[in-house]
Symmetry: C2
Subunit: 412 residues, 2 copies
Amino acid sequence: MARKGLVPPLGKEGKLKPLLLQGAELKAEQEKAKTLKKVPMTSRETSDLIMLGIGAFTPLDGFMTYDDWKGVCDKYLMADGQFWPIPITLSADKALADSIGANEEVALVDPSNKDEIMGTMKVTEKYTIDKEHECKCVFWTNDVEGHPGVANVMAQKEINLAGPVKVLSESFYPTQFGEIYQRPAEARKMFEDKGWQRVAALQLRNPMHRSHEFLAKIAVEVSDGLYIHQLVGKLKPGDIPADVRVKAIDVLVENYFVKDTVIQGGYPAEMRYAGPREALLHATFRQNYGCSHLIVGRDHAGVGDYYGPFDAQKIFDEIPEDALQLRPLKIDWTFHCFKCGGMASLKTCPHGKEDRLLLSGTMVRKTLSEGGELPAEFSRPEVVKVLQAYYGGLEEKVEIKLHGAATGDVKK
Amino acid sequence: MARKGLVPPLGKEGKLKPLLLQGAELKAEQEKAKTLKKVPMTSRETSDLIMLGIGAFTPLDGFMTYDDWKGVCDKYLMADGQFWPIPITLSADKALADSIGANEEVALVDPSNKDEIMGTMKVTEKYTIDKEHECKCVFWTNDVEGHPGVANVMAQKEINLAGPVKVLSESFYPTQFGEIYQRPAEARKMFEDKGWQRVAALQLRNPMHRSHEFLAKIAVEVSDGLYIHQLVGKLKPGDIPADVRVKAIDVLVENYFVKDTVIQGGYPAEMRYAGPREALLHATFRQNYGCSHLIVGRDHAGVGDYYGPFDAQKIFDEIPEDALQLRPLKIDWTFHCFKCGGMASLKTCPHGKEDRLLLSGTMVRKTLSEGGELPAEFSRPEVVKVLQAYYGGLEEKVEIKLHGAATGDVKK
């Protein structure tokens, strides 16, 4: 009765399409790339390229053409009819773009990491876009001052370059994150080895307090296993570095979850803060990772007040019916309620604000940085210890190694 | 992306097929029935007839033929290829059966209720069955001493009568249970009025303690609404009467659930204690009621040790893929865990027995009948009050009206 096996990757072929070269092919392409014109990438473009490399963006074969860009903005559809929720594009300044001939191959480099050659691209198309149109479609706003995703798009160079890519490097991710850094094929293998078919993904970019544990446990109850899938790409200043989060999640899983019901992994993308559209992107690449469900809570991938708290849930009802096999697991706002005598959500707790334990992010950070305790109803003591050590800088072992992350700035 | 509307009823036509006559047609059939040969029914047969009457057993049109019986026993399939999990048959003693001619119409009467004429049937087939084969298939045992379902089948009369029925009465259910007694069309209307599409059913034949509340709330989190659907047919001696359970559920829902997320209803069937096969029957008629999910917990519809605790979950993976659109919501054994600091299941709590609050049924009954309190982690105080009143006979308002139920016997 149930589907046998994991959900298939996106696309007509139904199999992963990693664009990362291996072995001799990689060596040859690396040699060739040294001779090519260099196109510098932003950190978002770099992380998108790595997502293409590992097959997380299957079935894309490179950066999008104008028709793909337009179709994705306007109706979630690539030119060939494939569903895709957010433009994956590469831009270059006009002088550089003008110097590139038709079908010329270029080297894609990461200027934040000594111009490492990350990949090559055959430039099949050069085009300009209406950036404000993209922002309106993707971010629902043109507020360049307030919205970091809009600011990024508006800061893109004048010309978009499209074409198929070959990926040559995964940057620092494999060495820095070790086992936590997982490619879709590896995640699928782990799920299959555990006999999982229904796998729920928990998108995470913050430490797990009890409200996240509660979301996660609802997912465990109704599926075969949970994939706690952290963003380990670039963060906002003040966000907690990935290795601290990993450690905090490790102690939580070890002490409060049943063995073999949870796998923790990381993926190399960065946040766009596109709220509903980004929830769809999170769902899209989670299906490629083999997840049948994505937990979508309150204000998923949001920033500021640009989206309603449940817009990221509603958008799943607006995309074409056959767009995704992954289904959203929509959960309301969660908290501890003293009258309920446990964790609850707005959907299951009928009591008042005064019965609920609600702490602001500012208060949590202040308490932790002063070495104070958080209530056991808010956070597990084992998790608090890890966070206190980070905030207080008390524990030498918690090294802040995350590439480019500010370590001292704990303000929002 | 999601299905629009409620799940359809079973059967090719996709619509409810209630066999209960109304108005002039009913009057005429009642008059005619008085002239027909009387076939007495057991309480199980009577409640099955009412389930046919209200459309809960759509698309059946009466009691099963030999080919239906055989196909359902052996492979869950009626002669016409329709999925069905448990034989719905009527038996008569040989002398009576012999006296009935081919295609003769008979009156079906309820001897436990002054021979009320419950329906008529055109007898299209008379046949004998291998009762032990039915028991082996349906109950997985032939233990006539220990298994109440087996005892019932083995006590059936020699000859099965098959044919289409017309239903003339719903017995005492509408008057005794009022709004709680709901026909599938009424339940569907209520769900639609609330805008529900994903409706989870909680099968219940006992009062709701916190472990049931927890199951129910997981279901609420992942669906549009919960249908607490109680069996109000015949019980085992010692079971708590339906009106007490209804009251205990009312106070629970009122105090611990969000308004408009729960509907409480009752259905007129009785337990067969067929464990896994009965879980499928519960799923089958719940789809007719409009439910997209059925919560299947530990030892669903079981008795004694005849079934493994999760056999009723596993069987959903063994029936044909297209048998049901309703899906089981499989949940492990639930309890309060002091280390988790809340309700949990064996799937989400990694702690030991000593951390969990586990009370035996005997201890719960003893405490309640002595007017004692149950721990708040086991049962809500409002629910305890209702049960104390019933057990202690302290509250005049709790009238024990349930048809045929023993009121004094609280042993298992």
